[in-house]
Amino acid sequence: MSPLTQKSVADSFSDFVESEEKDFTLRDGSRIAVVGGGPAGSFFTYFLLKMAQAIDLDIEVDIFEPRSFKYCGPAGCNHCGGIVSESLVQTLAAEGIVLPRSVVQRGVESYVVHMDVGDVAIESPVHERRIAALYRGNGPREGCDVELESFDNYLQEMVKGLGANIVPQLITGVENHDDRPFLKYGDGKGERYDLVAMAAGVNSNLINMLGELPGDYEPPKTTRGYICEFRSTKEEIMRILGRAVHVFLLDIPRFEFAAIIPKGQFVTVVMVGEDLDQELVHTFLNDPVVRRTFPTGATPCVCSCSPLINLGARKRPYGDRVVMIGDSGITRLYKDGIGAAFRTGKAAATSAIFHGVSAKDFEKHYWPTCRNIVNDNRVGKVMFATNAIMKNSRITRKAMLRMAQKEQQKDQARPHMSTLLWNMFTGSAPYVEMFRGTLHPGFIYNLMLSLGAALVPGKKAVQPRKKVA
């Protein structure tokens, strides 16, 4: 028990006075608005309605989403690589949410790391399909004939089934009217709500316009990514890429990371780099390592985009009756953005249902989840900086390759480098856990050995045990 101090008594008293003055709990008939029907908005709504049902609370939820995720092409898509991480797949399963075959375009079994010094296939730790490759909209425009269901539509149908109203409206502003958030519609009209969950992502103008609300809503830092779809035949994609996501560690100036993700008769190319422009994309796509991994005859689709990536945390992703979730608030650095949308969405819903919707409630019950992500991202930054140094030197690239190849060849009990690369690329573990792995004496010892071997001129790389694709 914490000691009773004058401050704690004063705090409790002021809490009491405040809660006496204003009621910040959701009650029967409370109205909640969710701005944005992407994963954050849908997961928030899912848990809000499930928890409300569990305690017999009768609330109304309106999700404002101008996009229809039933369209193919950019109009129906929340631009993203479409990888659902191992940890999210497992969490969804434990929550009773099963991703159907119509949504999952490929169940991923392995990651293949490509470098100029060679390739290594890293198998899923339990040799099963634990990662989902999917589309956020109904696929590329060229694939309107292909039968598939988008992830975002699947989630939206799920929350509709729980009673949420989907309102196809663009929100143009959020104001404060008589201590309640007021949502403005494009036609000048609007409505007051008891709680607004901002789930508009990071690509919306809206998130830069929240300054009018009381509180500190400084938007998060961003950078641009690049996504492009290519079409080939299912057979050719299966032959070249198999059930693996292909990632690239290349020494190209400004290049940070890229992945090629097979999805039925399409492949998605995702790229992240500094000041990403057409020149960098062109250099990457024409790199010999990339060319030999590309399905022959694959043609680029009109579907290509440069969406923003949330790079930093919003300082205070909540206020009285307003909470920011997913990319609008706080997300994981570079990886598992959908997983972060799940975590922040659920934490915000839990706080709203069981504790209240004041800034204080969110600070006490929502912020800890965000803080965990923020602190983990700090470690992530160190990990990515180290990775950038390692990928830029041929010696360290050779050492990484050698160590991972040896582990994959021997089915080692503790495959240190493979686990690190697997977690780094799949986003399946917190960065802190990955960092801890690099401090393991076994990791350091084997890395030193591999570095030594890489320094010996003419020493051949380990032959891969089998071809994955």
């Binding site: 797949v89 497992q90 399963a93 434990a94 929550e95 159907p100 999952v104 659920k346 934490a347």
Partner: protein, 125 residues
């Protein structure tokens, strides 16, 4: 073709977990159907239940260190996803409400078991 796209495919009658063996994971059916069986000296092999997509099994080993209390095998082709104990417990520590879904199913199973016992007692009277 069996439903679902994730996890591993088990062929008809293939055993997924075996009664009496130790385990450190639970499983969620993604597609198809699995059968839960229990073997006892008195009654031999008995059918306990069929589980379908979304249902889970093997959850007891996540919470206690006992051996598996039943055998689960595929009833036709089935797709099943394995959930690691360590990963699950780590997530439950961060988000205790994650356990609610498991508790719900477990309480439902206890209720069914109680009904079964009282039915059994009645037939013995």
């Amino acid at each position: 073709m069996v439903g679902g796209a994730l996890g591993k495919v088990y062929s008809d009658r293939e055993i997924i977990i075996k009664q009496g063996e130790t385990g450190d994971s639970m499983y969620v059916v993604q597609g198809g159907r699995v059968e839960v069986l229990q073997d006892s000296v008195k009654a031999g092999e008995q059918h306990l239940a069929f589980l379908d997509a979304g249902d889970f099994f093997g959850e007891m080993s996540v919470f206690e260190k006992e051996v598996r209390s039943a055998t689960v095998r595929a009833a036709g082709e089935a797709r099943v996803l394995k959930i690691d104990k360590k990963a699950l417990l780590t997530r439950i520590r961060e988000d205790p409400l994650l356990a609610v879904n498991l508790l719900k199913t477990m309480s439902h199973r206890i209720r069914k078991l109680n009904e079964e016992i009282s039915r059994h007692k009645k037939t013995q009277l």
